[in-house]
């Protein structure tokens, strides 16, 4: 029986301009593509990843422009399309002043009080 893994990502935008994606979300794509049963819980500053309309384009140094800026929201949409559940904690969005109508579609909301039950549904929890 395959292991079910919940990956908790708490820090957003860590090196995302240099890497042109989020390293944990990228790894999640790769693990899923290789058969892993894995979902993602976004917490802390990573909660901001579900906000629509972000644009990281325009970075340049001298005459060297970044041609492929990160598009984290699209990475999350792609994960959801693949069947990966992407959870976010409702209270943590509210604490950041983020309204639900500002967030991506099909993100799964959980309450803080529901986290223990959520975690119990997985064989392993990876905290990044």
């Amino acid at each position: 029986m395959t292991k079910r893994i919940l990956q908790i990502l708490t820090r957003g935008y860590r090196g995302t301009l240099e890497e042109q994606d989020d390293q944990v979300l990228w790894l999640t794509h790769m693990l899923h593509n290789n058969g892993a049963d894995t979902d993602v819980l976004l917490r802390g500053t990573a909660s901001n990843y579900v906000v629509r309309g972000q644009d990281a384009s325009g970075l340049y140094f001298g005459d060297r422009a970044q041609t492929q800026p990160p598009d984290i929201a699209n990475e999350i949409r792609a994960l959801i399309r693949k069947g990966v559940h992407v959870f976010v904690v409702g209270e943590e969005l509210r604490a950041r002043g983020i309204r639900r109508n500002e967030t991506l579609e099909d993100v799964s909301y959980v309450a803080l009080a529901e986290l223990p039950a959520l975690l119990r549904g997985y064989d392993q929890v990876w905290q990044w």
Binding site: T2, E19, Q23, L27, M30, L31, Q124, W126, Q127, W128
Partner: protein
């Protein structure tokens, strides 16, 4: 009965955080307790086994390079490889290939190999548990 296996995912580069040393201590403990150990070095952790690490003198301590004997994590990893052989268990250390390429640290010590997330998933499937040690 074959040894049980643990997988560790490391993220921190050398010399930046106590997590790197703590991670190696966990590997040492697991090896001494008879576990086969898989390591997937991700992001900056690919620098831990970099073959070109060098020692240096310390003018504040008043010591030359030899007497300062400054740690290079690659030597600690090599020592863990020896320990694993002595304990008749396996230490399989994999550097994320793309992480190595983009950081220019592709040259690792013998016994450390290059891999991908597919290898990490193979590690996880073969292990009784997996510990991710995140960076800050």
């Amino acid at each position: 009965m074959p040894p049980k296996c643990l997988t560790f995912v490391l993220n921190d580069p050398p010399y930046e955080s106590a997590r790197s040393t703590t991670a190696l201590r966990l590997l040492d403990a697991a090896i001494r307790r008879g576990y086969d150990v898989n390591v997937f070095a991700y992001e900056g952790a690919v620098g831990l086994a970099c073959a070109s690490q060098m020692q240096h003198a310390n003018p504040i301590h008043g010591r030359d390079a030899a007497s300062e004997d400054h740690p290079n994590p690659k030597d600690w990893i090599a020592a863990l490889q020896v320990l694993a052989r002595q304990c008749s268990v396996r230490l399989d250390w994999l550097n994320c290939g793309q992480c190595s390429d983009e950081r220019g640290v592709a040259e690792a010590i013998p016994g450390v190999r290059r891999g991908s997330p597919a290898d990490l998933w193979a590690f996880v499937r073969a292990s009784v548990n997996t510990l991710v040690i995140p960076t800050s």
